[in-house]
C-alpha cells in the first residue's frame, strides 16, 4: 500500500451567492486527505457541510453552489477541472457514492437488475455475457437473500435495508478504490443499521477500499472509521483517530456533541448544546463556535483560530483546546422526572386490536370474517398519572399505530381504551367531546409536516387556546407569550412563520401547541427522530421539565432505545404489533430480556470505538405477523422448538412488574443471556 492519497481536498471553499448578492461560503478552507484503505468519518450537525464535502470529492456540486477556491483531487485528477466525459468514467467506477436515501436514489421505473447491469456496462471490463452472473455475485456479496428474485424487482418492492444493500452493490460494481457514504444508515432500523455497517467493514477489509463516511451518528462512525473529522459551520474543527476524537476530544464542540448523545448504559438525560450554528457567511471574524462555547473569550470573538495540533497531538481549531477537558462529555443531565408510585391509571388499554385492512364490500355482504392476523393485537397496558411509558420496536412494530388509536385517529377493531377511569373512550375522534380532545394531545415526528407553513406561530398557538378555553384579545396574546416562554422561545417568535425557524425551534412550537391545551396525556411520536443530536437533547430536556412542572403523562414512541431509556419510567417492547416485554426501564434494559429486546439492545451502537454490537438475528423483514404462536418465532435466536410456532407464549411476570412474554422460563433465559454476554 502506497501513501499517495486517494482523495485530497486542499484549501477547498465552496459557496453560493446570497439574495443580497454577497458570496456566502458553505465550506471554508477544507483540507482533507484520505489514504488507500483508510476509512474516515465526517461528523457534524445538519448544515455543517459534511455532505457537501463528500459530493465535492466527486466533483459534484448541488444546484447553486460553486467553488470559491482550492482543489479536490482524486488520485491526482483535479475533479473540478475534468471534462464531463472524464468525470463520467471516474464516477461510479473508481470513486463511488452510497447515498443517504437509497429508496429515492434508485430509479423507480428500472428493475434492480437493469440498474446494476448499467453500472457494470459503464465501469466493468467484463465481457457483457458475464454481466448477469456478476450481478448475482454482487447481490450475494452484500448478503441479499435470493438475488435472482431481487434482480427482477423494482426499487419500491424492497425494504429500506434491502434498498441500501442494492445501492452498496451498485457502488461495488465498478470495483472502486474509494467509497463515499452519505449518511448511509440514517433512517434504518437499529438492527438493519448494525448489519449494514458490519457489511461495510468487511467489504472495506476485503477490498482495501478507502471510505469517507458522512454521518451525524457518532455510534456508526465509531464502528467503521479509523479517523474522524469533526465539522462545524463549514470548517474542520477537529481531526484525529477515532479513539482520540470520541474518547478525549479537545474541541468544545466535539465534547458538546458527545455529551448530547443519550447512551444506553446511562439513565441520565443527555446534555443539550445550546444555541444554533451560524448561517452561511454569518460566522464573522472570530471562531464560528463562539456563541455556543463555554470557554469563549474575547480572543475567540476577535480572531478565527487556525487548525493546529492540540493536546494529544490531534489537529484542533480552538484557542483554548488545552482547557477543553474541563467540559463534560458524557450525559450529565438531570435524571428524568419520575412518577409518584401507586397513582391511579390515567390511561388503560384493554385487549386493543387494530387493523388497517378492511374487508372488501363483497366480503362484508357475504358476512365473511377477516381471518388475517391483526396489525396490532392483544395490547393491554395501563399508564399511571405522571408516568412516561416508552414504546420501542423496529419500523412496522405498530408503535405509531397505537398512538394514533389512542388519539382516536384510527378506530380500533377491538378492545377498549379507558381514560382517567371513565367509561371507555369513544373509538374515533369525531365521537369524542372537547374535554377529551383537549386532555389528550399528540406531537408528531416531523414539525415541517405538522405545522401549517402559512400560519404564523401566533396563529398556530391561538387555535387550541380559542378552541378549548375561549380566550381572546390580550388574554390570548399573553397566554401565547407565556407558552412560548415555557418552551424557551420568546414572544418575538409570534409573528414568524415555521419556515423561519430551525428544526429544533419548530419542534418546540409543536410541543408548545400540544401544551397550550393543558393536556393530561401527551402522545409523542418519534418527536426527536428528525432532529440533530444536540437539538434532540434540548427537546428531551424540555419535555422532562414540562412533565416535572405539570405532572403530565407521556406515551413516548421512538426507535432509539437510548432516547427512550433517558426519558421513560416504564418501557414496552413491541414486535409486529404484539407486546414482548414491559416493565420499569432499568429492568427492561437489564437481563433477563425477551429475545427480541436482546436483539435490539445488541444492535445499538455506542459512540465508543472499543465496543462492538452483538448481532444475533438476521435483519429479514417480515410483512405480516404469523397467524399463531410467538410473533418473534421466525427471527428468534433462542427459539426452543415447535411450541414457539404453535402456542402463544405466556406472560411471565416478576414482582417488580417486569413481564416477559416467552416460552423459556425466566431463570433459564437469564442464565443463557448471562453466559453469552
Amino acid at each position: 500500500m502506497t501513501d499517495t492519497p486517494v482523495i485530497q481536498l486542499s484549501d477547498l471553499s465552496i459557496g453560493f451567492t446570497g439574495r443580497a448578492g454577497h458570496t456566502l461560503p458553505v465550506l471554508r478552507n477544507i483540507d482533507l486527505t484520505v489514504r488507500p484503505g483508510e476509512s474516515i468519518g465526517l461528523v457534524g450537525e445538519s448544515g455543517s457541510g459534511k455532505s457537501t464535502v463528500a459530493l465535492a470529492a466527486m466533483g459534484y456540486l448541488k444546484r447553486g453552489l460553486r467553488v470559491l477556491g482550492g482543489t479536490a483531487r482524486f488520485e491526482g485528477h483535479d475533479m473540478f477541472a475534468l471534462k464531463r466525459r472524464e468525470l463520467e468514467t471516474l464516477r461510479g467506477g473508481q470513486l463511488a457514492l452510497i447515498p443517504q436515501n437509497s429508496g429515492q436514489s434508485l430509479t423507480p421505473t428500472l428493475r434492480i437488475g437493469a440498474q446494476l447491469t448499467e453500472a457494470l456496462r459503464l465501469h466493468s471490463r467484463l465481457d457483457p455475457a458475464q454481466f448477469p452472473d456478476r450481478v448475482l455475485e454482487l447481490l450475494g456479496q452484500v448478503r441479499l437473500p435470493d438475488p435472482q428474485t431481487i434482480t427482477r424487482r423494482y426499487p419500491h418492492e424492497l425494504s429500506g435495508g434491502q434498498q441500501q444493500r442494492v445501492a452498496i452493490a451498485m457502488a461495488l460494481a465498478g470495483e472502486p478504490r474509494a467509497l463515499l457514504l452519505d449518511e448511509p444508515t440514517t433512517g434504518l432500523d437499529v438492527t438493519t443499521q448494525a448489519h449494514i455497517l458490519e457489511l461495510l467493514r468487511d467489504l472495506a477489509r476485503e477490498t482495501g477500499m478507502a471510505m469517507v463516511y458522512v454521518s451525524h451518528d457518532l455510534g456508526a462512525i465509531a464502528r467503521v472509521c479509523d479517523r474522524v473529522v469533526v465539522m462545524y459551520a463549514g470548517e474542520v474543527v477537529m481531526e484525529g483517530s477515532a479513539r482520540q476524537v470520541l474518547t478525549a476530544p479537545t474541541h468544545p464542540y466535539a465534547r458538546g456533541l458527545l455529551a448530547s448523545i443519550p447512551k444506553l448504559s446511562d439513565p441520565h438525560l443527555p446534555m443539550a448544546l445550546g444555541g444554533r450554528p451560524p448561517a452561511p457567511g454569518g460566522a464573522g471574524d472570530g471562531c464560528a463556535f463562539v456563541d455556543r462555547c463555554a470557554l469563549a473569550s474575547d480572543l475567540c470573538r476577535a480572531t478565527r483560530p487556525m487548525l493546529a495540533p492540540g493536546p494529544g497531538g490531534a489537529p484542533v481549531r480552538c484557542h483554548h483546546a488545552d482547557r477543553a477537558d474541563t467540559l463534560p462529555m458524557s450525559s450529565q443531565g438531570d435524571h428524568a422526572a419520575r412518577a409518584e408510585a401507586g397513582t391511579a391509571p390515567v390511561l388503560s388499554l384493554q385487549d386493543l386490536e387494530i387493523r388497517y385492512s378492511r374487508p372488501g364490500l363483497l366480503d362484508r355482504l357475504r358476512g365473511r370474517e377477516d381471518t388475517r392476523p391483526a396489525t396490532v393485537d392483544d395490547i393491554t397496558i395501563s399508564i399511571a398519572k405522571g408516568e412516561t411509558l416508552g414504546l420501542v420496536g423496529e419500523s412496522g412494530s405498530g408503535k405509531s399505530t397505537i398512538l394514533k388509536t389512542i388519539a382516536g385517529l384510527l378506530p380500533p377493531a377491538g378492545g377498549e381504551i379507558r381514560f382517567d377511569g371513565d367509561a371507555p373512550l369513544p373509538r374515533s375522534v369525531e365521537q369524542r367531546g372537547p374535554d377529551h380532545l383537549r386532555r389528550i394531545q399528540l406531537i408528531f415526528q416531523n414539525p415541517d409536516d405538522s405545522l401549517n407553513p402559512r400560519h404564523t406561530i401566533a396563529e398556530i398557538l391561538e387555535q387550541p387556546l380559542k378552541l378549548y378555553f375561549g380566550l381572546s384579545g390580550t388574554a390570548l396574546q399573553d397566554r401565547c407569550v407565556e407558552i412560548l416562554e415555557r418552551v424557551r422561545l420568546g414572544g418575538h417568535y409570534l409573528d414568524r412563520l415555521p419556515s423561519q425557524l430551525s428544526g429544533g425551534e419548530k419542534q418546540r412550537v409543536a410541543v408548545a401547541r400540544a401544551f397550550a391545551a393543558n393536556p393530561d396525556l401527551v402522545l409523542c411520536d418519534e418527536v426527536t427522530s428528525a432532529l440533530d443530536v444536540s437539538v434532540q437533547a434540548a427537546v428531551l430536556e424540555l419535555l422532562n421539565d414540562l412533565k416535572a412542572a405539570q405532572g403530565t403523562t407521556y406515551v413516548f414512541v421512538s426507535h432509539d432505545l437510548a432516547v427512550v431509556r433517558a426519558l421513560s419510567d416504564r418501557v414496552a417492547v413491541l414486535y409486529q404489533g404484539r407486546l414482548c416485554e414491559i416493565g420499569p426501564s432499568a429492568e427492561v434494559y437489564a437481563l433477563p430480556s425477551h429475545p427480541y429486546t436482546e436483539v435490539l439492545l445488541g444492535a445499538v451502537l455506542e459512540p465508543d470505538p472499543d465496543t462492538a454490537p452483538k448481532l444475533t438475528a438476521d435483519d429479514v423483514i417480515e410483512l405480516s405477523p404469523p397467524a399463531k404462536g410467538c410473533p418473534f418465532q421466525r427471527r428468534c435466536p433462542r427459539k426452543i422448538g415447535a411450541r414457539c410456532d404453535t402456542d402463544t407464549p405466556p406472560w411471565q411476570t416478576r414482582d417488580d412488574g417486569h413481564a416477559i412474554r416467552c416460552h423459556i422460563p425466566l431463570d433459564d433465559l437469564h442464565r443463557q443471556q448471562q453466559a453469552d454476554s
Binding site: S105, P108, H123, A167
Partner: protein, 318 residues
C-alpha cells in the same frame, strides 16, 4: 390486474349511466318537448296530441328513459325532431370528422409538446426555455378565435397558401378535408401543445432534481443516457393524463374552432341542434361526448398503471 380492469370498466359504465340519466332529466325539465319544438306555433290541441301520440311522449318519463337508454346501447339513437332523420347516421359522419380533426391535432401536437417540454425542462431558465415558456403562456391565454382569425388573415388572405375555411360537406370522405383542415389543426395543436408542454416541463425539472438522477450522475451515467433511461420514463407519466383530457376536449369542446373554420364536427352539430331545439340530437351528442370523456380517462388511468411499476406491481404481485 384483470379484476382491476373489469372493476374500472364497471365503474366507468356506471358513470356513463348516471350521466345519461342527468342528460335525460335535464332535457325533460326544460319547458316544452320535441313536439312543441317541431310544431312551433301549430303546437296546440289535436295536432300536438297526435304528435305526442306518434312519438310516444305520453308515457311516463322513466319508461321513455329506459327505452332511450336500451336503444342507445344497441347503437340506435332515435330520430331527429327536425326532418325525422336517423341520429346515428347524422352523428356518425360528424363524429368521424371530429375524430379526423382530433387525430391530426394529436399527431402534430403531442410529439411537439413533449419534445419542447423536455427541451425547456432540461435547459431550464436558459433563453430557449424562456422563449418556449412565454410562448406557451401566450398560446394558452389568447382565445382560439383570435389566433384562428390571425392565422386565416396571414395564411389565406395575405399569403394565399391555405384555404381559410372548410367547404367540404359533412359526409365527404376524410381525404377531401385536406388541405382545408390544416389551419384548424394548427390552432388546436397550438393550444394543446401549450398545456402539455407546461406539464412536461415542470415534471422534467422535478425529475432532473430527484435523488435518483443525482445518483445516476454520480454513478457516471452519461448525461443523455440519464435523460432517456432514468428521467424521461418517470417524467412523462403525468403527461398521459393531460393528453387524455386534451383528447376529450378535442372531441367535444372545440366548438369555437369548428364555427370559425366552418368545420362540420360534433361540436358545431351540437350548437346547431341546441339553436334548433332539436332535443333528441342534443341528448345523443351529450351522451357521446360523456362516453368519450369517461373512455379516454379510463384508458389514461390504465396506461399510467401499465407504465408506472409502482402501480402495476400493486396488482400483479401480492
Amino acid at each position: 390486474m384483470l379484476q382491476m380492469f373489469l372493476r374500472r370498466l364497471f365503474l366507468g359504465a356506471i358513470t356513463v349511466a348516471i350521466v345519461s340519466m342527468i342528460i335525460f332529466a335535464g332535457v325533460e325539465i326544460l319547458p316544452g318537448d320535441a313536439c312543441t319544438a317541431f310544431l312551433e306555433r301549430e303546437a296546440q290541441g289535436r295536432v300536438l296530441e297526435n304528435c305526442r301520440e306518434e312519438l310516444d311522449l305520453n308515457r311516463p318519463a322513466v319508461v321513455r328513459y329506459l327505452d332511450w337508454a336500451s336503444d342507445a346501447l344497441r347503437g340506435d339513437l332515435g330520430v331527429s325532431a327536425n326532418g325525422q332523420r336517423s341520429i346515428a347516421e347524422m352523428v356518425g359522419a360528424r363524429l368521424q370528422n371530429s375524430l379526423l380533426l382530433a387525430a391530426c391535432a394529436l399527431i402534430v401536437g403531442v410529439p411537439t409538446a413533449i419534445f419542447l417540454g423536455v427541451v425547456s425542462g432540461l435547459w431550464r431558465d436558459r433563453p430557449v426555455d424562456l422563449v418556449l415558456s412565454t410562448g406557451a403562456i401566450f398560446a394558452m391565454t389568447i382565445p382560439e378565435f383570435v389566433s384562428a382569425t390571425v392565422l386565416i388573415l396571414v395564411f389565406s388572405v395575405w399569403l394565399g397558401w391555405l384555404p381559410g375555411i372548410v367547404l367540404t360537406s359533412a359526409n365527404a370522405p376524410a381525404s377531401e378535408f385536406f388541405p382545408e383542415i390544416i389551419l384548424p389543426v394548427v390552432v388546436l395543436a397550438m393550444v394543446m401543445t401549450a398545456h402539455i408542454l407546461r406539464t412536461v416541463r415542470s415534471s422534467v425539472i422535478e425529475v432532473m432534481n430527484s435523488d435518483y438522477v443525482q445518483m445516476a450522475t454520480l454513478k457516471g451515467v452519461p448525461y443523455w443516457r440519464i435523460v432517456f433511461r432514468h428521467a424521461l420514463p418517470n417524467a412523462l407519466l403525468p403527461a398521459i393524463n393531460v393528453v387524455a383530457l386534451t383528447i376529450a376536449w378535442l372531441l367535444g369542446g372545440v366548438v369555437v374552432i369548428e364555427v370559425v373554420f366552418n368545420y362540420p364536427g360534433l361540436g358545431r352539430m351540437m350548437i346547431d341542434a341546441i339553436s334548433d331545439r332539436d332535443l333528441p340530437v342534443v341528448q345523443a351528442i351529450a351522451l357521446i361526448v360523456a362516453t368519450v370523456y369517461v373512455g379516454v380517462n379510463l384508458t389514461a388511468d390504465l396506461l399510467t398503471m401499465v407504465a408506472n411499476p409502482r402501480l402495476r406491481t400493486l396488482y400483479t404481485r401480492k
